[in-house]
């Protein structure tokens, strides 16, 4: 049975699951049961951060156009354009043992593509979640349902894996941003136009 987290909660990952090396991070959401001119397109992305909370370069930003980190530790499995169906809409594989030592945190974010021009935000997205599973056994270990935590935000740092005393932990961050992907990138030290 997976541990269910609330916003801001932190939980052990490798300490309680000894030997865990490969995890699958699944992100899901439901959108747009209404008729309308603009479909929703949600994107997940990953920021690999140093101890200062910043990336060291563009290569530490893993998203649909840069699916694999140079270390081979983080792989984005691709963009789902519609968010249809239950279960994960997008998935990221993380090999914890391959994460470079200078990477202290791995932050997972979901953004709404073109949110401003389509007048969309997370208040119109339902059943959003992040879950961490053991990639080898497919056993779900941690789950955070975003539920009522968001409304007018267009970008959310859903959660982060982070190092703590030689182990990996997970933090259900749940912090929202307006303005989509760009302010999020700047927050993590990436220069974007």
């Amino acid at each position: 049975m997976a541990v269910s987290l609330k916003k801001g909660q932190k939980v052990d990952l490798t300490k309680t699951n000894p030997g865990l090396k490969k995890v699958l991070v699944g992100l899901g959401w439901d959108t747009n049961k209404y008729d309308g001119t603009h479909p929703f397109d949600l994107d997940s992305s990953v920021f690999m951060l140093g101890e200062n909370g910043k990336v060291t370069g563009e290569g530490d930003f893993i998203f649909y156009n840069n699916k694999k980190h140079a270390s081979d530790s983080v792989t984005h499995l691709g963009d789902n354009l519609t968010g249809e169906g239950t279960g994960d809409d997008e998935q990221v594989k993380v090999s914890l043992d391959k994460v470079p030592p200078q990477v202290h945190k791995i932050a997972f974010a979901v953004t709404i593509h073109d949110a401003a021009s389509r007048s969309q935000n997370f208040g119109q997205v339902s059943n959003a979640f992040i879950r961490i599973a053991n990639e080898e056994s497919n056993q779900e270990l941690i789950r955070y349902d975003l539920g009522e935590d968001f409304s007018v935000e267009t970008a959310i740092v859903v959660g982060e894996l982070y190092r703590h005393s030689g182990e990996w932990k997970f933090n259900a961050v749940g912090s929202g941003f307006g303005g989509g992907l760009a302010p999020l990138c700047r927050n993590f030290g990436l220069n974007v136009d």
């Binding site: 309308g36 119109q124 409304s151």
Partner: protein, 289 residues
């Protein structure tokens, strides 16, 4: 013709008596003369006392066919409505005069936003949901309805509240009423709500609207207001139609339980399939034809 005496500032009073002419002492003993040959409503809103000693409130004179005066009354001069200040054809919706106490103004809501009603209104047993379609639009041809859904997002037949079944059996939802506040005169449609009477198995009250022969894209200026009837104040305002186009049935907002309180979510989205699509969305089967 009977005209209620001016009460305390903030009260509305209204008379609707057919009479060709009346001349009656009005504020400060001034006379007001109205010549019209039809049913006449004299409606004053003295909620706004204007600082200048010669001015007092707002007056609308509505003959039932047209509004022949709307504006501030200036005491010290006779108001003659024989020469209309402006005429508003009856089939258009007049700009409502500011009907409610002005204490900070309503908070604007954005689509997708969620707000606690318990924290916004003084008494959740006295809420009015009020709608304006925006000036220049026709008064008829659209209906407001409320789906009272359970936690499985299903609506029992008796919990679909609409023009033909305007009152829920629990007394929590009453279409066309306003807790006796008189607020409904200032809006195109109102729904009276008493959230304390909502049965515990009901999770959501979905405020919806349907339209005949047009689409909601033609009502971009429409707005939804949440009124704290106990305080006589509009607390929330939502321009729900800004992103609508071809829809013929829309969800304006959903009022729902969250933990120990009631929240409102600004939805402002809908369907091209009319009432049937709404019913499907809220788990009601309807017969065709």
């Amino acid at each position: 013709m009977t005209v209620n005496p001016p009460g305390a500032a903030g009260r509305h009073f209204r008379s609707a008596v057919a009479e060709k002419r009346f001349a009656k002492p009005f504020y400060g003993g001034k006379n007001i003369s109205v010549k019209e040959n039809s049913l006449m409503n004299l409606m004053t809103d003295i909620g706004k006392r204007i600082p200048q000693p010669s001015q007092y409130g707002r007056l609308n004179v509505d003959t039932g066919e047209k509004i022949i005066h709307t504006g501030n009354i200036v005491l010290g001069s006779h108001l003659s409505v024989n020469q209309p200040v402006r005429e508003i054809p009856r089939n258009r919706i007049p700009e409502a005069s500011a009907p409610l106490a002005d204490t900070g103004g309503p908070v604007p809501m954005k689509t997708g936003q969620k707000i606690s009603l318990n924290q916004k209104v003084s008494d959740i047993s006295r809420i009015v949901t009020a709608l304006k379609w925006g000036a220049g639009n026709l008064r008829s041809g659209h209906d407001i309805s409320v789906f009272m859904t359970d936690s499985a997002n299903k609506t029992a037949e008796d919990n679909f509240i609409f023009y033909n079944h305007p009152a829920s059996s629990c007394g929590s939802v009453l279409i066309g009423s306003d807790h006796g506040s008189g607020i409904k005169q200032h809006y195109d449609a109102t729904v009276q709500m008493n959230l304390k009477l909502v049965p515990s198995h009901i999770q959501t009250l979905a405020i919806t609207a349907t339209i005949d022969e047009r689409t909601f894209g033609q009502f971009r200026a429409a707005s939804l207001g949440i009124i704290d009837a106990a305080a006589g104040k509009q607390v929330l305002s939502y321009s729900f139609a800004e992103n609508l186009s071809e829809e013929t049935a829309i969800v304006l907002a959903e009022i729902y339980r969250y933990k120990d309180e009631w929240r409102i979510a600004a939805i402002g989205r809908g369907f091209k399939g009319g009432l049937a699509a709404l019913c499907e969305n809220y788990g009601i089967e309807i017969e065709n034809g």
